[in-house]
């Protein structure tokens, strides 16, 4: 048992003596969080728009200002020819072209439903879809105005269902509230996976592992000594990240923090086990990095961090049952944002626990002192 103490001592000395390591442990979470949480949003605003007005009437001008006034769009080019507008789109200077046909106002009067042409640059199909939605709603509002103005509405008894939407747990629909818990998960994962696997492989690469293998040091002592430092550092970073999240983004922390750390500790078992496993199948730090990166990309993309798990095809959701990151993100969001308790997350917790035990056992079994 004492020997674990010696290993821990050596590991911590090595980690912190590396002068560039300490700022990384602090810097990485803050930078990641600040950038990612602020950048990530699917809402659009100031979409660059060109308007080609062939009608030049008061109605067309009102339509233009309706778009210009909306926060979704920014009209950057006015009253051009179709050709010019198309060129601007090709240059990427506008993403949407609204073409108002000549005779718009007249047609509205005459109750011929005139068409307005809208061209959307669909290279980013996400944005295009959103822009489409915004355009439809703006035009729909404008139409309502018109109907009032030109008296298309007959005063008649109509039955209306009014809907009131309430958004719980995130009433202002802030994307950061959604992202930050996920980012914290990524943070913990990076430390637990990359750093641990690289650390062990480093000894392989340098050759000091041979010296260790020749000693009577029991392999599970060695493993504990190698993994525990990163377990501690990851949890510490989590605490740091939570604090930063609170300070900079005012994320809600509704549920029990103790529960969060408890779950994180179990999650780290999974990740550290995987890191150890990776270290047994790689020989160089570079390989360790790449293999870790490979797993991370898959796990993270499918985890529900960026896009909802429920939107994935069924076969993918089945595969996702093996994705520990998905469980952890779900738990984090539930506990932090909704205050879910242990009973609410017990299935996810148990799954993580089983993964953790399995992961460590697999990795320890694979780790051999002998070649």
């Amino acid at each position: 048992m004492r020997t674990i103490g010696f290993i821990l001592q050596k590991e911590f000395l090595q980690i912190f003596r590396n002068r560039q390591m300490a700022p990384i442990i602090f810097f990485v979470p803050i930078i990641q969080m600040l950038i990612l949480a602020n950048a990530a949003t699917f809402e659009m605003k100031n979409i660059k728009m060109a308007i080609v007005d062939h009608d030049i009437s008061s109605t067309s001008r009102r339509l233009m200002s309706k778009f210009d006034g909306s926060r979704f769009f920014k009209v950057t080019k006015f009253s051009l020819s179709d050709k010019e507008a198309a060129l601007y789109m090709k240059q990427g200077r506008v993403n949407v072209i609204l073409t108002i046909p000549s005779g718009l106002e007249r047609d509205i009067y005459l109750k011929n439903n005139p068409e307005v042409q809208i061209s959307i640059d669909a290279v980013n199909q996400n944005s295009a879809g959103l822009a489409y939605g915004y355009i439809l709603s703006i035009i729909s509002e404008f139409n309502q105005d018109l109907r009032v103005r030109f008296g298309n509405i007959k005063p008649q008894r109509v039955k209306i269902i009014k809907t009131i939407a309430s958004y719980w747990y995130n009433p202002k629909l802030e994307y950061q509230t959604f992202m930050v818990p996920g980012i914290l998960v990524i943070l913990v994962t990076l430390i637990g996976l990359f750093l641990s696997s690289m650390n062990i492989v480093r000894e392989k690469e340098i050759g000091t592992i041979e010296q260790i293998n020749v000693t009577p040091l029991k392999k599970h002592h060695f493993i504990v000594g190698k993994l525990v430092p990163f377990w501690i550092i990851a949890l510490f970073d989590l605490a740091f990240g939570l604090t930063m999240g609170k300070i900079f983004f005012d994320i809600p922390i509704v549920g029990s923090i103790g529960l969060i750390f408890c779950v994180s500790s179990v999650y780290l078992l999974v990740v550290l086990g995987l890191g150890l496993f990776i270290s047994t199948i790689t020989h160089t730090q570079q390989q360790a990095i790449f293999v870790s990166f490979f797993f991370t990309i898959i796990f993270v993309l499918m985890s529900g961090l960026f896009t909802p798990v429920e939107s994935m095809p069924v076969w993918a959701q089945y595969i996702n049952r093996l994705n520990p990151v998905a469980y952890f993100i779900k738990i984090m969001r539930m506990v932090l944002l909704k205050g879910s308790g242990f009973l609410d997350i017990k299935w996810e917790f148990i799954s993580l626990f089983i993964f953790g035990i399995f992961s460590i056992i697999m990795a320890v079994w694979r780790y051999r002192k002998r070649a």
Binding site: R2, G5, L13, Q211, N213, P216, R370, A371
Partner: protein
């Protein structure tokens, strides 16, 4: 197999194959307690492989091997408590200080804090490094690193210490000092098993085995080998052996 009172290492018909390549071909030899046993041969002869098998880093393909009275297949961990090892590649942590390295390995071998402290002082004084104990090992010149690595390998007073090409790349003066250390170690009762491709170092050993292409071609004391092969020095002995094949 009975372990003779004086045989600290017993090897019978050791074979190690890597695929179809035979690295060690039916090696048979004994090492006596307290002697300096030289394992000579050109690069690629299979010396390092044999050492790795004796230290428990590699499993042999076949053969009976006992080190310090323990069987290499089944009692590998007991062997490790009783041996020391200095590998060809570097074995101390460059980003730890001299003292920290000593403390780490001492602890791994189960030495108490007092023992570690005492041994550390001894080593530092002997190597004239007492004032540098907080210096990072990475900052030492190669020769000092080698000597330090050797000292750390015998820190726990093992029965046998294995040295794999310990003087490679080191200047002649340091080599001389290194061998002084080896003599002192043997005097203190530890057996030294040293591999080298420097034939002149063979003169310093009690007995020497010459390995060529995975086989032991000669095994005896340097004097007797020179007599047998009618050679003036070990280099000539080796050349005669090589030519014979």
């Amino acid at each position: 197999m009975e372990v003779g009172k004086n045989h600290i290492i017993e090897v019978r018909d050791l074979v190690k194959k890597f695929g179809s390549f035979v690295a060690n071909d039916h090696l048979t030899f004994d090492v006596n307690e307290g002697e300096i046993f030289g394992f000579l041969g050109p690069n690629g002869a299979g010396k390092t492989t044999a050492v790795r098998i004796l230290t428990g880093l590699l499993l042999p393909t076949s053969g009976e091997i006992k080190v310090a009275g323990f069987d290499v297949y089944r009692e590998s961990n007991k062997i490790k408590k009783n041996i020391g090892y200095m590998s060809q590649r570097f074995s101390l942590y460059e980003d730890l200080t001299i003292y920290e390295n000593i403390r780490f390995y001492g602890g791994i071998y189960g030495m108490s804090s007092e023992e570690i402290g005492a041994q550390a002082d001894l080593v530092l004084n002997r190597l004239n490094l007492a004032h540098s104990k907080d210096k990072l090992v990475g900052q030492l010149p190669l020769g000092w690193k080698q000597k330090l690595a050797f000292s750390v390998a015998i820190l726990h007073r093992p029965a046998v210490v294995f040295l794999d090409e310990p003087t490679s790349g080191v200047d002649p003066i340091t080599r001389r000092q290194f061998w002084d250390m080896i003599y002192r170690t043997a005097d203190e009762g530890m057996t030294v098993f040293v591999t080298t491709h420097y034939m002149d170092e063979a003169e310093y050993c009690s007995r020497v085995s010459i390995m060529v292409d995975g086989r032991i071609e000669a095994l005896d004391s340097p004097d007797r080998l020179k007599e047998t092969f009618k050679a003036k020095n070990m280099n000539e002995v080796f050349l005669k052996i090589a030519r014979k094949r």
